[in-house]
Amino acid sequence: MQYKIVDGPAETAIVVLDGKLDYSAAGQIEMPMSVLAGSKKGLIIDLSALTFLASIGIRHLVTAAKAIQRKGGRIVLLRPTASIAEVLATSGVTELIPVVQSDIEARTAIGLAG
């Protein structure tokens, strides 16, 4: 798996996850996600190129979401594929983190003007 972090305006960032987020890849994103959740007010997690999401990856998403939401920040999941969307729904992540399909919706969800 590869990931890319793009800093945005007003203490926001976009995290692009690409490939398989399995047990071994989860270790790569744990620390960066934790740092972002602690330092940003808005996070967009772009899932459009993510092909597999293991439960350990869900745990990191949930941990980041709780950390950022606790301090009044916002997090949003952008454009998951059908199989990833099913995993997010089954695990109930969608109750905690909104899922949107467009860049404009994602920017709005984290408090940036569309």
Partner: protein, 368 residues
């Protein structure tokens, strides 16, 4: 040398402690890993002597491959074996260098290669022995198969090398009720196993405050209150829990962040997914959990399983999903104590060579 004698291969601490050495790591079918030191001489691996490293397994040819130093690392050469030598999942045709951390397989037997200092290797071996102990402890707490009575149960459980967090339980709750569950703690390793053990003990001892064990939604809600995943150290877990009113043949169930269980029942025996829309346990504090129920006809079979059963990668690098596993259930000939093993064999035949990436757990419950 044989794999049984590998622990006798030791380096002299006084002269070798600071020198990096080559280690082959053999993963046993049980998931246990054994470390073997490789010196400057080439070694062969095979099923019997004259191979230098003997691994008694029919998938391995008599003299299967050669391992030898290659610059600062090792290289592997297949010696015309029947089932092939695979590096990073691909069958090799010529001598192939191994980087430290690489996995390779002879048939479906897995080896790893690591270049480590002796002290690092000893630490890694100690950690692996601890993980093996954690895995054995989880397995000690699993119930025996049940061959008679109102519910008959069989299972097949294959822990992965790193120890996943799968566990399950079942049995009578009272004279008129049966119950059971399967759970999957997110992550691997000792923390996931410890969490699974805590939950097994709480449910097994009916020690959940205020939760009627006949009410699966109440059991899951009590666990949700008890294990809030407020930090990264407290893992979430998925769960599928049920109770069964024997006289009324009524199955009440609650799934939380877990994929559906599959019911196969007359007259059509078409696989029917059973699930409820609830999040992972520990994710949302104070949440109520929904349950559902269904009356079972005679000769119904319920399949509970962990995601390690279907989240597998095939030999041609396809990622499978739940919808690939359900047709395997449909192919079953009906109730049988060997049904979990049949499903495991089907999954194993599809999966790429080497150990599975996650615990694999299949429980079948028959309601005659």
């Amino acid at each position: 040398m044989t794999t049984q004698s590998t622990r006798a291969i030791r380096l002299d601490r006084t002269t070798e402690a600071v020198e990096a050495r080559h280690f082959l790591i053999l993963t046993e079918p049980s998931g246990a890993r054994r470390w073997l030191v490789v010196g400057q001489a080439a070694l062969t691996i095979g099923r019997s002597e004259p191979a230098d490293i003997v691994v008694a397994d029919d998938v391995i040819s008599r003299v299967h491959c050669r391992i030898e130093p290659h610059g600062d690392s090792l290289q592997v050469t297949d010696l015309g074996s029947t089932n092939g030598t695979f590096v990073d999942g691909r069958r090799i045709a010529e001598s192939t260098p191994l980087k430290s951390g690489t996995q390779f397989h002879l048939g479906d037997r897995a080896f790893g290669y690591e270049r480590r200092l002796r002290g690092e290797q000893e630490d890694a071996e100690t950690l692996e022995r601890d993980l093996e102990s954690a895995s054995r402890y989880v397995q000690m707490l699993l119930p025996q198969p049940v061959g008679d009575g109102p519910v008959r149960a069989a299972w097949h459980f294959v822990p992965c090398a790193r120890v996943g967090g799968d566990a399950f339980g079942y049995g009578p709750i009272d004279a008129g009720t049966w119950g059971g569950f399967i759970l999957d703690v997110t992550g691997h390793g000792a923390a996931a196993a410890l969490h699974a053990v805590s939950i097994l003990n709480l449910i097994g001892r009916k020690a959940l405050p205020g939760a009627d064990p006949r009410n699966p939604a109440a059991v899951v809600a009590a666990l949700n209150d008890m294990f809030p995943a407020d930090s990264a150290e407290l893992p979430l877990f998925s769960m599928w829990a049920f109770s069964y009113d024997i006289a009324a043949r009524r199955l009440r169930y609650c799934s939380a962040g877990h994929h559906p269980a599959i019911l196969v029942a007359p007259p059509d025996r078409q696989p029917k997914p059973l699930n409820t829309a609830n999040p992972l346990v520990g994710m949302i504090a104070g949440r109520a959990f929904a349950a559902d129920e269904i009356v079972l006809p005679p000769a119904a079979t319920l399949y509970l399983f962990s995601d390690g059963v279907f989240e597998i990668e095939t030999a041609d690098n396809r990622q499978l999903a739940l919808q690939d596993f359900i047709p395997m259930i449909a192919k079953g000939a009906g109730p049988s104590r060997s049904e979990p093993q049949r499903l495991y064999r089907e999954v194993r035949a599809l999966a790429r060579q080497g150990p599975l990436a996650d615990d694999l757990c299949i429980v079948t419950l028959e309601f005659p």
